[in-house]
């Protein structure tokens, strides 16, 4: 009985910990039933903590909508040589992710960006592409 109790408690705790991905739980902010796949021009980049935001203008039937796309802390990217100037206004990007639970889009629509892709297919913010691979300081060549 005690083992079952322990297991249940652990499951509860672990399931919560999974949602604590970073500074906050994305599941509290974004709607799993509202996936997005949008393409538009970058109009602004907010390189701020706790999360960076990329503003994208998306045209649909001649109507422009601004989407704010949430990323992670910029500190890691700055350390890897990327800055807000690495994504210049006017750059066309594709963003895939999920819209926020609040969908009023006032003043802007909000989404998280699971990944961001340029028209030529290259991806930005991809750890596996070498632009931001996590480092741990153990390799002297990294210093």
């Amino acid at each position: 009985m005690r083992n079952i109790f322990s297991y249940v408690v652990f499951l509860i705790l672990f399931s919560f910990s999974y949602t604590i991905y970073g500074h906050h739980a994305f599941t509290a902010e974004f709607d799993a039933n509202a996936p997005i796949n949008i393409t538009g021009k970058v109009v602004k980049v907010e390189w701020i903590n706790p999360h960076a935001w990329v503003h994208v203008e998306v045209l649909k039937e001649s109507k422009a909508t601004i989407w704010m796309v949430e990323g992670g802390t910029p500190n890691t990217l700055i350390r890897n040589g990327l800055t807000k100037n690495s994504i210049k206004p006017g750059t066309v990007i594709n963003v895939r992710g999920y819209q926020s639970k609040g969908k009023l889009c006032l003043p802007r629509c909000i989404a998280n960006g699971r990944d961001i892709t340029f028209p030529d297919g290259s991806k930005v913010f991809m750890g596996s592409s070498g632009t931001g691979a996590p480092r741990d300081g153990s390799d002297p060549k990294e210093r």
């Binding site: 509860i12 705790l13 919560f16 604590i20 599941t27 992670g72 700055i78 350390r79 895939r96």
Partner: protein
């Protein structure tokens, strides 16, 4: 032609280089630099980013990990990163009902390898109990489960949300004590002045101010990150912390989940073992949440990188979005 005197000199040279020098190197202790006021110098920017987690994964049967398994861990992490970042086909839209996830791994900095101590890879930060697991007192954890559930589900106002979301302290136990690694911002800056040691934690810009050779504050003073005092034991900084803040009891990150009760007593030791490394050791005494004491150690490695400001409040759009999301759900 080598004469007798030259032969003797050659033998001496060979003895020194082949036997004497390695012995000297083996026995050589790192001479800790001193600050201008004479304390051992721990100052600088340090990182504890590593694949090694607080508790030992079940795959590992011992604290020490052989080279082969350490390489496997490194390779599997890269595969995980690739899968995490490339889970969709080109042009494919994410599926409805799937995990909304977070951001991809470029935003993270959780290390690429298990850390090494004395040349050996380690499977866990925990060194005692020997199984590398927290000796949880499950009754205590069960009592907390309800409060924890509330914390992640209630969104009537900001004060009901977790401390990390509110920009009060970093998530998990990044600020400590004990100071544990998380997914990113695993950087610490140590600054010393006569009578004080300050540890600035990049995650959430938390600052631990340790008063040297001092007394604890009165028990009714509960500060974020606890009340820390310290002293030097030779070249080792010993830090004792108690009177933990009740709202900081449950500390969760994806890489560790711990309870630190208000009455817990935590001892940390910082020893500079080389120009580029501090050995960080800790011991947690918390009868309320654990059946036994637990101990751990990890290296803090020198970083040439800067620590950047983590001005959490100024850019915290997420809090408003979380509350707006809760209101939208209520309307449905």
């Amino acid at each position: 032609m080598v004469n007798g005197e030259q032969k003797t000199s050659l033998m001496k040279f060979l003895f020194i280089t082949m036997i004497g020098l390695p012995l000297v190197l083996l026995g050589a202790e790192y001479e800790t630099p001193k600050t201008w006021f004479g304390d051992p110098d721990l100052q600088g920017t340090w990182t504890n980013a590593s694949l090694t987690t607080l508790e030992r994964p079940d795959e590992y049967k011992s604290l020490i990990v052989n080279e082969r398994d350490a390489l496997i861990a490194k390779r599997m992490t890269k595969e995980f990163v690739d899968a995490q970042d490339n889970y969709l086909e080109p042009g494919e839209t994410p599926k409805a009902g799937a995990d909304v996830g977070g951001y991809n791994t470029a935003w993270m900095d959780f290390g690429t390898e298990l850390f090494k101590i004395n040349g050996d890879y380690r499977s866990s930060i925990i060194t005692y109990p020997e199984d590398g697991k927290l000796p949880r007192r499950w009754i205590g954890w069960g009592k907390e489960a309800i409060a924890i559930a509330r914390m992640f589900r209630q969104a009537d106002h900001p004060e009901l949300r977790s401390l990390g979301e509110r920009c009060i302290v970093g998530f998990g136990s990044s600020g400590g004590p004990p100071m544990l690694n998380v997914l990113y911002n695993n950087n610490y800056q140590i600054v010393q002045s006569p009578g004080y040691v300050m540890i600035m934690v990049e995650m959430n810009h938390d600052a631990r101010i340790i008063r040297l050779n001092s007394e604890f504050n009165p028990d009714n003073m509960r500060r974020w990150l606890g009340d820390s005092i310290g002293f030097w034991e030779g070249n080792t900084l010993v830090v004792k912390t108690k009177n933990h803040h009740p709202q900081q009891k449950f500390r969760a990150a994806i890489r560790h989940q711990i309870l630190i009760s208000e009455g817990a007593e935590i001892t940390e030791k910082f020893t500079r073992v080389g120009k580029n490394e501090i050995l960080y050791q800790f011991e947690v005494n918390d009868d309320e949440a654990y059946k036994d004491v637990w101990k751990g150690e990890m290296p803090l490695r020198a970083s040439q990188e800067k620590i950047y400001e983590y001005a959490c409040h100024e850019g915290n759009y997420a809090m408003a979005n979380i509350l707006a999301g809760a209101r939208a759900e209520e309307e449905q």
